[in-house]
Symmetry: C2
Subunit: 131 residues, 2 copies
Amino acid sequence: MKVVHYTEVPLEPVNAEGAEGAQIRWLIAQKDGAPNFALRLFELAPGGHTPHHTHDWEHEAWVVSGTGKLVTDRGEFKFAEGDAMYVDPNMMHSFHNTGDDVLKFLCIIPHEKPVVKRTLNPFADGKANDC
Amino acid sequence: MKVVHYTEVPLEPVNAEGAEGAQIRWLIAQKDGAPNFALRLFELAPGGHTPHHTHDWEHEAWVVSGTGKLVTDRGEFKFAEGDAMYVDPNMMHSFHNTGDDVLKFLCIIPHEKPVVKRTLNPFADGKANDC
């Protein structure tokens, strides 16, 4: 288990080609024993953005602070603090800081490419409210 | 894909036995096509808490606002805005609001019980910084 303030987690450059002014903190990852997915915090400088690319895994995201836009092959979508975002596998996408402050958002990814799911967690279907 | 402010997502009661003053918003779930995990926002009233229980899936969490404590079989851990939390599978745990305001935190769970992982996403190991 782990409880950590995000500022205690190293802020590292995003090395991917096409990224500008983008940094990342791996808040919870495989190194912590997390078996299925990784929780990361992105910090984008004003004007900064992630690469415009696609891959076969999804993103689930949460905007902590700042304002930006999600550019996809289905259009552009503005976002701000308190927004949740879902990006499908194989969708072209990039996150852009359109404000004057640092944009901070969480982005969760699976550890592996999607596999056929058999036994579903009954508490994950949006009907049963457990925790 | 989806971009939604959390206030636009229904706030539902947490029905699990042992929960007190706990509500939930399913921000991203299977109904949205998410293939692997669900992103939920919990809202706990002052004094409220989730059930003290255990299960064989993990939690990854992020504190949006408020203050609380995570009670586990390894002890109690205070948390506040900007903290990330990881709870291992099969660990007794509950989240408690210890402040005067509503406690809001994200909690991410897998759709299914852990399976043996074979092909790992190279961008999820905390070493390669992509997005």
